[in-house]
């Protein structure tokens, strides 16, 4: 302790204190404040950059999820639309088939009817012609046959009989 007190120089103490405080004030104003400020600013910058990167990533993730969802929805919609279309198509085909069938049946029926009527007409015509022919033949036959009376009356009788039968 004695040695310490003997070594202690009050003047040096004062000079050191003044110089140190001066150095401290100068450094504080021109070095430490700007340095710490810059470092803090940089750290804040890094922090905000990281945060914004994280946000962007999250946003992107949510966007991706959205895209996925939209895609899924679109796919589902397409699926349902195609199903509808198929159904409609099937229905249309079926309808057309039905209609065609109906038409066909109708046409067949008409054809049949017309055939029938044609046939009737043809038969009638045939009958008429046959009758005419028969009459013609009969005339000729009659003309020849009626040359004698006996035969004539016989034929008339026979004809009469026939007519009544038919």
């Amino acid at each position: 302790m004695d040695k310490l007190l003997a070594e202690f120089s009050f003047g040096l103490f004062i000079v050191q204190t003044v110089l140190f405080v001066g150095l401290f004030l100068l450094l504080k104003k021109f070095a430490w404040k700007p340095i710490l400020g810059a470092v803090n600013e940089r750290e804040e910058g890094i922090k905000t950059a990281l945060d914004s990167a994280k946000n962007a990533r999250q946003e992107m993730e949510s966007l991706n999820a959205d895209n996925e969802r939209i895609l899924k929805e679109a796919r589902a919609e397409r699926e349902s639309m195609m199903k509808d279309a198929r159904q409609i198509k099937d229905a249309m085909i079926n309808e057309a088939k039905e209609e065609a069938k109906a038409e066909g049946t109708k046409m067949i029926e008409q054809a049949q009817a017309s055939i029938q009527s044609e046939k009737q007409a043809a038969i009638a015509d045939l009958k008429k012609q046959v009758a005419e022919l028969s009459i013609g033949i009969a005339e000729k036959v009659v003309r020849k046959e009626l040359a004698n009376d006996k035969d004539q009356s016989k034929l008339i009788e026979q004809l009469l009989k026939e007519v009544t039968i038919s």
Partner: protein, 366 residues
């Protein structure tokens, strides 16, 4: 493994040195014991002279062939407050050998300290062989002050440069600042914030940074061949410690004083017992700071210089090379100590500031 080997090697070397020292001492008694004693005395005086502040900046001195002592270095201004200001060059002391006269007063340097004497340079002593001459207030630009100014300028150059490089390069350090930026951040993140707290550390950062680099740089300068022992000077460490003391107690909040004078959470008799102890602690804390730094740096210089001195004591190939090796090893340790002491001073200052501004939301915890 390697480290263990190194430790073993060092221990054995140390043993060898002590052994050979004994051996040489044995020789001495037979022959030229007187000369050896002279050398030892000379080394001792040289070391104690080196450890003190000096009024001129001598790089080295030698004795010329004609027996005249030559000093290489330069004189520094002496500034005294003794019934007015006295300013003269330290060359007037002729390397602390003669009496200097200024405005009718006579001064002499006695054991590194400037004392007032008569024209003959008489030193009066008290019973304990201490000089009783009056000591004027000595504001001289001594060797230490030169080094303080140089360190201050170096710090200004480095850190103002660093601050400017941030402004210039958009927040990125360039040049030498790149080396110091991590240290600044370390002081902030690992010394200031853990000890003082996130909220309060800002206002102490400037002091902590200044004190850390000031002590570190001066410690490192002390290891250069210039060998200026600034941080091993009691006045310097006292000045640093008193600043820590003042800042601590000026910024001490209600809680701090309450913990000193009326410790919460202990019975009343204990409070009464604790109060003087805590009050003493207020002074002991900075005192330990000043003694720790002073003693560590002083001891480092003494050890290194003693080991260098051993070379002259041995005057043999073996002893000389061994001390050279030891000096080398100790110097490396001293480089570590230089950083460590700066770190400890800063760390403890931060700790004390932390005590001063600590907030206790949880009273029952004490």
């Amino acid at each position: 493994m390697q480290r263990k080997n190194l430790v073993n090697l060092l221990t054995s070397l140390l043993l060898l040195v002590t052994f050979s020292m004994n051996a040489s001492e044995g020789n001495k008694t037979e022959g030229e014991g007187h000369g050896e004693n002279n050398i030892k005395q000379e080394i001792k005086e040289f070391i104690s002279h080196h450890l003190k502040d000096s009024h001129d900046f001598s790089v080295f001195s030698y004795t010329a062939e004609d027996g005249e002592k030559k000093h290489i270095g330069f004189s520094l201004p002496v500034i005294l407050v003794d019934n007015g200001l006295h300013v003269f060059s330290s060359s007037k002391f002729h390397h602390e050998t003669t009496v200097a006269e200024s405005n009718g007063n006579f001064y002499k340097i006695y054991h590194g300290q400037l004392v007032k004497t008569d024209s003959e340079g008489t030193i009066t002593y008290d019973a304990d062989h201490h000089a009783t001459n009056t000591k004027p207030i000595d504001l001289s630009i001594t060797k230490s002050v030169v080094m303080i100014i140089l360190t201050g300028l170096l710090m200004l150059w480095l850190f103002v440069g660093l601050a400017r490089s941030y402004a210039k390069n958009g927040g990125v350090a360039t040049g030498a600042g790149r080396f110091f930026e991590p240290i600044i951040l370390y002081i902030r993140d690992d010394i200031a914030i853990p000890n003082i707290g996130e909220k309060q550390h800002g206002k102490y950062m400037s002091f902590l940074l200044t004190v850390f680099f000031f002590i570190w740089f001066l410690n490192m300068f002390g290891l250069t061949p210039l060998g200026v022992n600034v941080t091993g000077n009691i006045a310097i460490t006292f000045s640093l410690a008193i600043l820590t003391f003042l800042i601590t107690n000026v910024s001490g909040n209600k809680n701090y004083w309450k913990h000193i004078f009326w410790m919460p959470g202990v019975p009343v008799p204990m409070k009464i017992i604790l109060a003087p102890i805590e009050l003493l602690g207020v002074f002991i804390k900075p005192f330990s700071l000043l003694i720790r730094l002073y003693a560590n740096m002083q001891a480092g210089h003494i050890v290194v210089m003693s080991l260098v001195g051993l070379i002259y004591v041995f005057q043999s190939w073996l002893g000389g090379s061994l001390s050279f090796f030891l000096v080398f090893a100790i110097s490396i340790i001293e480089i570590l100590v230089a950083l460590l002491q700066a770190y400890i001073f800063t760390m403890l200052s931060a700790l004390y500031f932390g005590f001063a501004v600590e907030e206790h939301d949880h009273e029952e915890a004490h």
